[in-house]
Symmetry: C2
Subunit: 422 residues, 2 copies
């Protein structure tokens, strides 16, 4: 009998090799209006003091604090009102003893004044005001640079920018930030049987599911997907597509090409490129065994299996963590739950298996069930909630055994589960 199985590499060995690649997106400048979720590429230090002038912190009267000493509800202190400053006014009068200036919150403080009496504690009578509560120097005044000192670190390199971070940057007047660009990831499917969604489907043809799935998955990983189209099973077309992908993108993700016999049409065609350094061809995992990973002058080329469920699960296990890492994004969605197996879950001994599973609440407890369908079914991942990892040494998981489920989506998006009962 022919032996067509190639040697398989343990997943950890692939990870060690991928860890050595130095894939990094360029640093780009984006507007603060579009900076949500981007990763700051360098420490942001303030070019200015914020606020850059002394401001009133309350609506009221800017005073010399010592003029109000002794004031109380029974014995107000009377001051002369010599002007008014609104928020946004660019000038403020200078005040002397026993005078004050009416100010609005945020207004430029008058020179000479060192506190603000809140409007609630004062009664104005023509050009005078009765102050019913004493203030201390500095009370209700925001000093220059109180929020942010010139040169101070406002947001550190590597932070995923949230609205408040962008606001702190914008407060210094800066309207562009330097962030890591998105990794450009080429996505293509290979196979004579593939038709782009929306096209006409003759017998023998199927829709190209993987491109749509992987383009969206790359975006979910924080990358910029560059769709290269369906590539026919021709060595020349494959090579051209790979050359184009390598010329324009940082990472290449191909799927399929297992339709011509020994299951390595794509890898073997691509070996012809030369300089393509194969890290592995054949992975000790299920699904995903026919996976090949190579690099070309430091750029990773992932060749995933053609079955949609195998392709996407391999993507989640192998590609997603690295797109995130190279993009300086946090390692993953971090969505894991522990729960007990609802039935005995079988696995092939001798191969690390990633098994799609469903969650189900039974008697107030969440139970884990294997998918009804296998990796050849297109709907398997859409009908499941996540996957579990079954070690090569195990041939099954016992009913009732605790397993860790890596979720495809946050728990709150999974319907029919009463999260409260966990």
């Amino acid at each position: 009998m022919k032996e067509l199985f190639y040697s398989v590499t343990p997943l950890e060995e692939l990870f060690v090799k991928l860890d050595k690649l130095d894939v990094s997106p360029p640093v780009v400048e984006v507007s603060v209006w579009d900076a949500l979720g981007r990763v700051l590429a360098e420490d942001f230090r303030s070019p200015v003091n914020v606020p850059h002038f002394r401001r009133a912190a309350r609506d009221g009267y800017a005073v010399v604090a010592r003029d109000t000493f002794g004031a109380g509800e029974e014995k107000p202190v009377t001051l002369r009102v010599i002007g008014e400053v609104k928020a946004g006014d660019e000038r403020s009068p200078r005040i002397g003893d026993r005078a004050c200036v009416k100010v609005a919150t945020g207004a430029l403080m008058p020179e000479g004044a060192d506190a603000v009496v809140m409007v609630e504690h004062a009664v104005e009578r023509e050009e005078y005001v009765d102050v019913y509560r004493a203030v201390t120097p500095g009370e209700n005044v925001v000093e220059e640079g109180r929020d942010i000192r010139r040169g101070a670190l406002v947001v550190e390199k590597g932070r995923v920018l949230a609205p408040q971070d962008i606001g702190a940057i914008a407060a210094t007047g800066v309207d562009k930030v330097r962030v890591y660009g998105r990794l450009r990831v080429a996505v293509a499917s290979t196979g004579d049987e593939l038709v782009a969604p929306g096209g006409e489907l003759k017998p023998g043809k199927i829709y190209d599911v993987n491109s749509v799935t992987l383009v969206n998955a790359v975006r979910a990983s924080g990358g910029e997907a560059v769709y290269m189209g369906v590539i026919r099973d021709s060595r020349e077309l494959l090579l051209n597509a790979l050359r184009e992908a390598l010329a324009t993108c940082d990472v290449v993700v191909f799927s399929g090409g297992t339709s011509k016999g020994p299951g390595d049409a794509v890898p073997s065609a691509l070996r012809d490129l030369g300089d393509l350094d194969f890290m592995i061809h054949g992975l000790a995992m299920k699904p995903g065994k026919p996976t090949a990973v190579a690099s070309y002058k430091g750029k990773p080329v992932f060749m995933l299996p053609g079955y949609p469920t195998s392709a996407l699960l391999s993507y989640y296990v192998i590609v997603d963590p690295y797109i995130r890492k190279w993009s300086h994004l946090p390692p993953c969605e971090g969505m894991e739950v522990k729960a007990r197996a609802g039935v005995k879950i079988f696995s092939e001994e001798g191969r690390l298996e990633f098994k799609p599973v469903r969650l189900k609440v039974e008697g107030g407890e969440v139970r884990v069930y294997p998918a009804y369908t296998g990796s050849e079914a297109i709907t398997t991942l859409s009908l499941t909630h996540g996957y579990i990892e079954i070690k090569a040494s195990r041939s099954f998981i016992e009913q009732g055994e605790e397993v860790t489920v890596r979720l495809f989506r946050p728990l709150r998006e999974i319907r029919g589960l009463e999260e409260e009962s966990w």
Copy 2:
């Protein structure tokens, strides 16, 4: 003394009123290439069988199963090879007794064949093949409609589309899906003191932080932010801006306008629009007391305080949950952690307080500390990790007391915390 404090409404009363609004985005059609994270607006049922023809599930030989009965490693069965079908070939020969067709994975099954012998279990000799393992009818064959039956529910209404859901839809050949449109949310800041980031800053002026922050926050909530610019403190300009916002958007979020004395310049100007139905003006919470919320012919108008920290915290507490709800998105980022207070945390008795806090790992435990700065500081939220809610009846949280922290960002994005130790 003047009493300028308006009556305040408990948060729950506002929520009851907001719950009665029926804000809903239109249903829109998007390409499967751009459907990630969108919410499906109607059940998706398959218009076709998937696969729409009988396929070979393996590379090998399509046979009549009963012809192989009795085959074994010691006594192969010999069949005549009458043709070959590759994946994507639109025709397949008809086979009779003791004949077979070489097939690739995914190939159209020949009429008459009911199983596939894997290539690993066969040896080809010119026009014959020796089969070393018997197969049963249906073995290694994918029947028409096996993955998805015509008319079957593929993805249910309300699901937030993940790559695998989009893939399952694309497998049926459909390249557009009907999803909920994004809510259009008008964002504007009001105040004579405001200058757009990047502009020149004279004394008395400050950068408009809130617009940048809220535009990004609206996007984080799943809305489409429509920036209306800085509105000067003029009743006419405010009214014009509100009219424009209401004409073009589903939700309006204004901030500021508290600079002119009693703190309700914006709400009072907007009362002139007529038909603007005020739900509340003044909220029993800290920060966010000056908040006003109205509706105009069913469209919500949120008037948030001007201080950036107050504005954004009010947004997170009041606006974000409703943008998500109205958009049919899951209720929130769902990011909460329980941890103990590292120090006694003071609060104003009689007011529900949302206090920004920092997390810190001490002796392997996460502790909660209040922000160094108050709601007047622009950096408060950027320097904290989340906020806790302190009931109106409490004047402090005891050191060591357990509190629930609503996080601004996922834990994995917070540096310096060893998540393992939780």
